[in-house]
Structures are given as C-alpha cells and as structure tokens.
C-alpha cells in the first residue's frame, strides 16, 4: 500500500510537471479565486470594524435624537427635521440629562458656499457646543475648539476640517484668517484632526461654528437640520429618559395619538445595531462578490481538470492495457488534483495576504486589515474540493472504460 502511494505520488508529480501549461492555468485559477476572496473579505471586515468602533466611542449612557422620515414620506418628497423648538423642549422638560450636545446644520444637510481669499467652495456647516469634542472624541490639531465664551456671545469664529483648508487653498496654519460662510465672515480659530475617508467620502470636509452663531445664521428655517446627542446622569435610567424624550417631542411636534414618531431616539447600542445593518448589507455585497469569484475560479478549475482528463484518456487506456488497476489510476489522478489544488490554494493565500499587506500602504486611510483565517481556509477547501471532484470523477469514468475504448479516444 505504501509503495502504491509512493508510486502514485511520483506519477502524480510527473503528471503535474509534464502538463506544465495546464497545471499552470489551473493553479492560476485557484490563486485568483482564493486571493480575491481573502482580499474582499478582509476589506469588508476592516471597514465594518472601523464603523463599529467609531460608534463605540459613544458611551453606554448616551442617547441620540434625530429626525426620521419614513420611506413613504421620502417618496412624496417630505423630509422631517428636528427644530430649535424641539431642542429647547428637551432642555426644558426632560430630567436626568447630564449633557446635551446638539449639532445644528443651519444650512441644511448639504451645507453651503464658503469662501476665503479668492477661492470659494462648498462644505457642511455644523453649529456645535463646546462639549462636541468630548462627546464625539474629535479634537483640534491646531488652535482651539469652540469654547463657552464663543457660545455665550455667539461669536463669529469657526473651526475647519483639513479638507476645507485644502479646498480653499488656505495656508498650512490658517488660524486668524477669515472664512465667509453664507453671508457672514468667521474667523478661523482652529483646525480639526484629520479623519480620512470612509467609503471614499471625506470625513474632514466641514466647518464648525458656535451653536448660538448657527442659530443666528439660519437662512431658511425650512432647511435647518438638527441632531442631538445627550448623556444621562444614571445609565440605569436611560430607558426612562428615552421615553420621556419621546413623550416631550411628540407633544412639541403636535403628533396625534395614532401618528408614528417622525423622529428617533436611540441608545448608542441601537445606533450601532442600525449601522451593523449597513455593514451587514455591505457584507452581503461582499458575499456576492466572493460567490462570483468562487464560481469563476471553480469553473476555471473544473474546465482545466476536465480537459486534462479528456486529453489523457488515451494515457489511461495505455495504463489499463498494461494492467493498471482502477485504484492505481484513481490514486494518481486524486493525488495530482490534491497536489495542484493545495499548491494553488496556498499560493492564493500567500498572494491574498500579500495584497492585504500592500493595501494599507496604498490606501493609508483604511484601518489595519486583518487576515481572514476562515475565508482563507474556506476558499482553499473549496478550490481543493472542486479540483479533486472534477479531477477524479472523469478519471473514474475513463478508468471504467474497456482499455480499447479509452485507447480509441482522440
């Protein structure tokens, strides 16, 4: 038996070497399939991790309040918004709140025109309170953030994201320069840390001004948008606070008893969950991509193995004429397929991991990419299974023929 195995292995190796171009193509199919799967899966994992971790910075005692437009209403062109009156109602009528961090979009979700020097651009404008920094864990890289005095006096100062500095050709240190937002000039007092891109969208393309200044700047109250993040004093009471906010907002927004909420009050956990759904959708797309890669690789491998066996049916005939047992032939083709598949699969793992190492160098904004072990193992198993299946089944059929039929095969 051992001798058989050794002879089989030798014959298999000879087969791989002798059919160099076919073996090469088969291996190439396996490498592409396995590497594609590893890269896709690891990128998706990395993205969803970065999204999840950005919500983890919100503590367990935070609630977020934002407007919610049902899909039905969206279709009818309606957009629900929180108003400054909602903000005041929460401030005045909800107990157990420790901190309120409102973010006002005085020019709406899409922002407005900004200008400095001779350049103009378009960016989002946030009206924020001083505690914005700690709530969202974003800090200034230069200068200072909006402070209490700014808020108190509704001073026309601003803190800009690095993308704005870049778009408006501002100098590396733009502090003290003036920026026109809407109709007014704001003095730049700080620059935020760079956050990079998520899904190709810059996280640094915004300007922050004091909340109070934002209230004054509102050009069209119908466009203004607002979201509120609050922390509760007692984490155990978070649900009570949540219910109270819902109650206050329903009253303030004059919803009748049967109406659905046109806003959402979520805990950080619920927020994470809703984003998990988004990453879930991305993962779904990734699964689709992976499926297609596997299918393409699988068909390629299958095709190569089938051609290989068909071309070699004569050879099988010769071996049978010389007295090979069915088992001898099957063993040879089995070992050959396993050898090819493992080699192609492992090479694919190497290539995939190599690409994973290179991506962060080319795209520095992406967080570190984990090597997806299960995807690597799974895809190697898959290509091996396909390779073995389509290597051995036709070989078994050829080995079943009378030798003379196999020999007649052209």
């Amino acid at each position: 038996m051992l001798l058989r195995l050794r002879e089989g292995a030798r014959a298999a190796w000879d087969g791989v070497i002798a059919n160099r171009s076919r073996s090469g193509l088969t291996i190439a199919g396996m490498v592409v399939g396995v590497a594609a799967i590893i890269v896709v899966v690891s990128i998706v994992q990395s993205l969803s991790q970065s999204i999840t971790s950005s919500f983890d910075s919100l503590g367990t005692n935070t609630l977020s309040v934002r407007a919610y437009t049902s899909f039905d209403e969206q279709l009818r062109g309606i957009t629900r918004r929180l108003t400054l009156s909602d903000h005041r109602a929460i401030l005045g009528r909800v107990d157990g709140v420790e901190q309120v961090t409102p973010v006002l979009l005085p020019f709406g979700a899409y922002g407005t025109r900004v200008a400095a020097g001779g350049k103009t651009g378009f960016t989002r404008v946030y009206g924020v309170t001083p505690n914005y920094q700690d709530t969202f864990k974003v800090y200034t890289a230069q200068g200072r953030f909006v402070n209490a005095a700014d808020e108190q006096a509704a001073r026309k100062i601003c803190v800009i994201g690095t993308k704005v500095r870049e778009n408006l050709d501002l100098p590396g240190s733009p502090i003290g320069q003036f920026l026109r937002i809407g109709g007014d000039w704001y003095k730049i007092v700080g620059v935020m840390e760079e956050k990079g891109d998520v899904f190709g969208i810059s996280q640094d393309d915004y300007v922050a001004i004091p909340f109070s200044a934002g209230e004054i700047a509102v050009a069209d109250p119908g466009k203004l948008d607002l979201s509120i993040t609050l922390s509760v004093a007692d984490p155990d009471a978070i649900e009570d606070v949540q219910h109270r906010i819902v109650q206050v907002l329903r009253e303030n927004r004059k919803l009748r008893p049967g109406d659905e909420d046109d806003f959402k009050v979520d805990t950080a956990k619920q927020l994470t969950q809703s984003f998990d759904r988004i990453t879930g959708a991305i993962a779904g797309v990734a699964v689709g991509l992976v499926g297609i890669s596997l299918l393409v690789a699988g068909i390629g491998i299958m095709n190569m193995m089938l051609t290989s066996v068909t071309e070699r049916t004569r050879e099988i005939g010769i071996c049978k004429a010389l007295g090979a047992q069915r088992g001898d032939i099957l063993l040879q083709f089995l070992l050959e397929a396993v050898l090819l598949s493992l080699f192609g699969g492992l090479l694919g793992v190497l290539v995939g991991c190599g690409i994973d190492l290179i991506i962060p160098i080319l795209v520095p904004q992406l967080p570190a990419i984990p090597i997806p072990v299960s995807a690597a193992v799974g895809s190697v198993v898959f290509v091996t299974a396909i390779g073995v299946l389509f290597g051995v089944i036709p070989a078994a059929q050829a080995a079943n023929l009378d030798p003379i039929e196999a020999l007649r095969h052209e």
Binding site: L3, R4, E7, D14, G15, A18, R314, E315, G317, I318, C319, K320, A321, L322, G323, A324, Q325, R326, D328, D402, P403, I404, L407
Partner: protein, 233 residues
C-alpha cells in the same frame, strides 16, 4: 497441458444504426504454448478485433474465451487487470508509449502495477531494453526515438513482465522494411526462447517466418495452416 488459448464461437457485434456489423462471426481457435502465429487477412476482416479480445482489452459479444484454462468472461475487474499485467504483453501498431515517460520508465510500468520494488524494476527493465538493443537509450523520451526504436521499447515493455502470451497488432506496420526485418528477427529470437507469439501482419514474407498462419475474412477463420504444410504445398 491446457492450451494457452481456447476460443469457441467468439463473436463481436457492433451496432451501426439499424444494422449489426459482425466484426467477428464465430471464431474457434486453439493456440498451444510456444506457438508462433501470424494472423493475416484483408483489411476489415476482424484481425484487430480478435487480437484485442485475446489481449483482454475488449470483450466479445458472445462465445467463450479461456486463457490458460480460465474463463475470461468470469473474471472481475481486478483479475482482468492482473491478467493483462501478468499474462499478456501487447504490442500496438502505434506503439502506445507513455509520451512523458522515458524508455526505461515505459518499460518499468507494468512492473509498477505488480508492486515490484523500484530497484528490481529498474534491473529488469534494463535487461529487457538490452534484449532489444536499446541499452544506450534508456533515458530517452519516446519523441526522441526513431519509429523502430519506439517499437523496440514497446516490445521490451511487453517482454519485461514475462507474460505467457505476446500479442502484436501489425508491429511493423509503421516501419520501413529494414527496421521491420530487425523487429521480426527479434520475434524469431523470442519465439526460440520459448515465448508464445501472435502477430498480425499484411506481409507474406513475415507470415512465412511464423510456424502457423491464420487467415481471417469477414470475421471468420477461412484458413489455418502450419508452415510445414505451407512448405510442403
């Protein structure tokens, strides 16, 4: 002693569309050990078909074939493979060498299926190659050899396992006259050394060197005579 081959009422029918083609149509044949037989007959008369059945490469449609007294039809897959491996050395007109194996590896191949050690296989294969005069070509691939040399490798391969029966289907069909002569000389020697040989040929001169000539026509044996008779006639 049981004859090496005993056939009775052997037929091989191919169904072509609606018609049945009788490639063999009732063959009765007995061949003793150490016989040296030429099979002759016009093209399409069933020579190859008969040879393939005798070599256990093909199965008859009906009739009985005993090899060394054993009924081949009753053998299972395993026994059939072992019979091809041990009892029969088959030599094809088109050589049928494994294209990616050297001369030595080709000759060794039947011994591989017997589970003989690599060392012994090598020795026996070298001996067989020496017997056909190819000791200097052991590591050549088939496409690095001439037609005659390829056929000699094929003969060495058939001989190497020391089968009881050597079957050759037009072994010289693809070779020039001089080379054909060498190959037949080799068969003569093998016969004198005790081998049983059946060969198909179209050459009367080759047939004349055998001890016995069987003529096929339309799947039947129409003539079967020994050389003594031929010479006497």
């Amino acid at each position: 002693m049981t004859p090496l081959i005993q056939c009775s009422a052997l037929t091989k029918v191919y169904r072509m569309g609606d018609a049945d083609v009788f490639a063999l149509d009732g063959i009765d044949l007995t061949i003793e050990h150490n016989d040296y037989v030429a099979i002759i007959g016009p093209s399409g008369s069933g020579k190859s078909t008969m040879m393939n059945i005798l070599g256990c490469l093909d199965t008859p449609s009906s009739g009985q074939f005993l090899l060394n007294g054993r009924d081949v039809a009753k053998m299972n897959d395993r026994e059939l493979a072992a019979t091809r491996n041990r009892e029969i050395g088959f030599i094809f007109q088109s050589f049928n060498l494994l294209p990616r194996a050297t001369a030595l590896e080709n000759v060794m191949r039947p011994l591989v299926y017997r589970g003989i050690s690599r060392q012994e296989r090598r020795e026996r294969a070298r001996e067989a190659l020496a017997l056909v005069g190819l000791e200097a070509r052991v590591s050549h691939l088939p496409n690095e050899l001439s037609g005659g040399q390829r056929q000699r490798v094929a003969i060495a391969r058939a001989l190497c396992g020391e089968p009881s029966l050597l079957l050759a289907d037009e072994p010289t069909g693809n070779l020039d006259t001089a080379t054909a002569d060498e190959i037949i000389g080799l068969f003569d020697r093998l016969h004198r050394a005790g081998n049983t040989i059946l060969l198909i040929t179209h050459e009367p001169t080759i047939a004349a060197r055998c001890k016995r000539a069987i003529t096929l026509a339309d799947g039947r044996i129409v003539d079967d005579r020994r050389r003594e008779q031929v010479l006497a006639a």
